[in-house]
Symmetry: C2
Subunit: 335 residues, 2 copies
């Protein structure tokens, strides 16, 4: 088969040399696995970090990619039929606790070969029928970011109709799924971005409003206009999370799923205890979360926000697009 193979890690400017579209042994399903012919894959920031060597346990050569939609090419005795349209849960070995992943947990696409290839083998327990309202292209956008957003919003944040939700950094994969999920759930959704175009686009998708986080003291201005934000979903950490502690109303809830801005340098604990805040960390999701996400997507006919599409042989360009942070929604790779 053909695959997009990371031969060695390095700077993003060298990615075209390091990420090679080439022949690779077609995997053969082991017991309990199925073989999937990938139609579309999608990228996550994790993939970019791995190309830079900024992830623990990086090995090369490796096929990256955690997201895909495709068809069953070899059902290998499972309950699937050859030709079934499917998507894949990229959370490997979550374990038995719903509260947290166990130590052996991993994510599809490292250490195991991922989805940026013509074929992939995966245990059938991680494979789900594609919701019928989604095309292969749309379905491929969901797995990693959609699951992370689902757990953050509903399992951890328990967001329901009527909640006033602020989502930071719209445009990013998880934040954008969180936006469409919260809107689908009937919440009043507000977003932040450093890009006015993304703020406008968010409103076309159903957000109530947004604010540009490049404005000085944006949090004070935002809080004056919207003093009743009771849920906040953040993947930035750092100074953004510090401001979120200020924005969140008494008894409110903050969910954090990432820290692209690093540690919080001045975390005002007095806000946390005096306002009786709830802060929940969240990452990825359990098998149960993935199944519930599929049910939710199906029931609400949720569609993803898609940014752009690249052919797999031009995959490096897709990585450069993701690195630029200009995207609104998911960057898709056609296989």
């Amino acid at each position: 088969m053909k695959a997009l193979v990371l031969e060695k890690t390095g700077d993003i400017k060298d990615l075209k040399e390091n990420l090679v579209f080439r022949d690779f042994d077609t995997p053969v399903p082991k017991e309990g696995e199925v073989l999937i012919k990938v139609q579309y894959a999608a990228l996550n920031h994790r993939d970019v970090w791995i190309t830079k060597g900024l992830y623990s346990g990086v090995r090369t050569p490796i096929i990256l990619g955690s997201d895909c939609a495709g068809t069953i090419a070899d059902s290998n005795g499972s309950s699937f039929k050859n030709g079934d349209a499917v998507i894949v849960n990229p959370t490997i070995n979550w374990g038995v606790n719903q509260s947290h992943q166990n130590k052996n947990f991993s994510i599809l696409g490292l250490p195991e070969n991922g989805t940026l290839a013509e074929y992939i083998c995966i245990p059938s327990k991680y494979v789900y029928l594609k919701p019928e309202h989604l095309s292969f292209k749309e379905a491929s956008a969901f797995p990693l970011a959609g699951l992370t957003a689902y757990r953050a919003c509903f399992v951890r944040g328990k967001i329901t109709a009527g909640d006033n939700v602020l989502i930071t950094g719209v445009g990013g994969g998880v934040a954008t799924f969180a936006m469409v999920y919260c809107i689908a759930a009937g919440a009043n959704v507000f977003v932040t971005s450093g890009d006015e175009d993304k703020l406008e686009q968010a409103i076309t998708f159903g957000a109530v409003g947004g604010i540009n986080h490049r404005i000085e003291n944006w949090e004070k201005r935002f809080k004056e206009i919207h003093p009743k934000i009771n849920k906040i979903i953040d993947g930035a950490g750092g100074g953004t999370f510090a401001k979120c502690l200020d924005i969140c109303s008494e008894g409110g809830t903050l969910i954090n799923y990432g820290a692209t801005l690093g540690a919080v340098k001045n975390f005002e604990m007095r806000r946390v205890f005096w306002k009786q805040l709830n802060i929940y960390g969240s990452t990825m999701g359990s098998d149960e979360d993935f199944a519930n996400m599929i049910e939710f997507i199906d029931a609400k006919k949720v569609k993803p926000v898609l940014d752009s599409e690249y052919e797999i042989q031009n995959g490096a360009e897709a990585f450069v697009r993701l690195e630029s942070s200009k995207q609104m929604g998911k960057i898709i790779v056609r296989v």
Copy 2:
């Protein structure tokens, strides 16, 4: 009546001049209030901060004190009988939300006159019959710190038998109540202190173990020995809370009720999301929390840890003892 009256705020070394035991108008109960003859009162750090002017809305002259036990001197048409032995909930105007106090919330002892006096008037809805297994002296220790600990442990932290709980800064009022409550609830309790004597005393009260937080990298040493801490109750914030994020096991819960060490200077958000931690802020407690606390104390026959007793005319010495942080448990004032 006689009362301990704060005439003006200032440094703790001037407290003997600023805090005067003198005549004061005996209060007269308004509609809905009862008059209580105070037998014992107890101190909280809040009282010390007020004497220094480090609290918003300080006025003088004022009678400080949030805690007392005494007898009904004028039942004023309430369901109490004159002579009933009672304790008082110091949370005034919590409001209707169980999740957080409303904006008009205040604490007995500022802005209203408090318990360091022969008599106090208080709405009868804040008055509860003293549990019979407690003396007046013991009962007076509970109200503010006991309520804060109750909400932190059980309403916010949902601590139950089998939890492995770390409580920071044992010796302080809330931390020491948290210790005895968690032990009474069947949890395995560990404590920190900078004082070896307090660590030893904690074990005599039923704690499993403790560690001196003056040891360099105490959190690493503690975590090596006790890797399964799933609940942490902290009132320090600052660097202590940062270490607690490290100590807490995956899926675990941290409850913070104060920040004597101030903001957290390097709050590692990646620990929060990757370990799927839960962080709950907590302060004081609702009327419902107070009623549930009384029920819990009664059912488990909980006794407070008492540090020392002072006569009200020597009240300033009690404040100096509290300021020294040498106490293990509550400092009581006999009226």
